[in-house]
């Protein structure tokens, strides 16, 4: 039963319709979580005794940073599936993840910088996390650039998948090397947040926002995957019918 459904999911028209039905539900849930998270985070949660109100950037910054890593791993895993089993759908999911992941990485960097200015006194420090996040952004941009540079989209997806996997091997290496480099150079070490001592009223909105961002990723990835499928299958019958129905 499940395997049959899974096989059906691999067929582009089925996936297109399935994703189309899923998107409104997940999108609605995402919106509800987003509003709840923002309400709890911006209004209910108390201000931090050390950082005042500025800490509220955490509700954007930390979920973005989590998602930036999560999406990269998903992308590489889908890339591996695409390379090993030649599954078209995995290619599409991997490629559709890249722009969302790059966006979250960018957000993590920008909000980190906006948080750093009042807390550390500068927009940018060569802090271990900031630096590895910056390199992560470059890895994402590399995947996107490689994919868009190759004309044949199946070949492009496979090349981008290999690059994503090479990047996954490198991420821990980059992270630890940057951390080690930074500790040797005595960077400004400000502990941002004492994880165990975090107030529940601060923690709950953080987790809700993280969930909302995860749903946002799924929704957006499905939207992009639908586009990608349409574009790839533009000469097939089901897309022609769809375009015709669309224009009445």
């Amino acid at each position: 039963m499940f395997m049959r459904w899974f096989h059906e999911l691999g067929s582009p028209p089925y996936f297109y319709r399935f994703a189309g039905r899923l998107i409104p539900w997940l999108g609605g849930l995402c919106l509800v979580l987003l509003v709840t998270g923002l309400y709890l985070g911006l209004i209910v949660a108390p201000s931090d005794y050390q950082q005042g109100e500025s800490y509220r950037i955490i509700y954007i910054h930390v979920p973005s940073a989590w998602m930036s890593l999560f999406i990269y791993v998903v992308m590489a895993a889908c890339g591996a599936i695409a390379l090993i089993w030649r599954m078209k759908l995995a290619e599409v999911v991997a490629i559709s993840s890249a722009p969302v992941g790059a966006s979250f990485t960018f957000l993590a960097l920008v909000t980190g910088s906006l948080w750093g200015k009042p807390m550390w006194g500068t927009w940018w420090v060569w802090d271990a996390r900031l630096t590895s996040e910056l390199l992560l952004l470059f890895l994402y941009l590399g995947v996107i650039a490689l994919y868009s540079a190759i004309e044949d989209k199946r070949q492009a997806a496979r090349a981008a998948s290999i690059l994503a996997i090479v990047g996954v091997v490198n991420i821990p290496l980059i992270h630890y090397s940057v951390e080690w480099w930074n500790t040797l150079h005595q960077g400004p070490t400000v502990t941002k947040f004492d994880a165990p001592s975090i107030d529940v009223r601060m923690l709950v909105p953080l987790l809700i926002m993280a969930l909302a961002f995860k749903l946002f990723y799924i929704v957006n990835m499905l939207m992009r995957a639908r586009c990608e499928l349409l574009s790839r299958e533009r000469n097939s019958r089901w897309v022609a019918e769809l375009a015709e129905a669309d224009h009445g």
Binding site: L42, I43, S47, G52, E53, S54, R56, I57, I60, H61, S64, P99, V100, S103, F106, L107, V110, T111, L114, W115, K117, P118, F216, N220, M223, R224, R226, C227, L230, S231, R234, V239, A240, L242, A243, E244, D246, H247
Partner: protein
């Protein structure tokens, strides 16, 4: 209310963060929507053109 927007003096940093986040997320939602629209329009145009050609060919024969 004013106090809420003031954010204890950190208004610029906090609202800038939230504003940029909103902008990036909305842009991510719009991009595939526009791409889909463009693609469907292009396909419809192509279909119409080929149909017209077929009709013309049928009339000429």
């Amino acid at each position: 209310m004013a106090e809420f927007f003031h954010m204890g003096g950190y208004a610029f940093y906090v609202w800038m963060s939230y504003g940029i986040a909103a902008l990036v997320l909305v842009a991510n939602l719009l991009a595939p929507r526009w791409q889909r629209r463009r693609l469907l329009d292009e396909l419809a145009r192509k279909a119409r053109r080929s149909r017209r050609q077929q009709e013309r060919a049928a009339r000429n024969s």
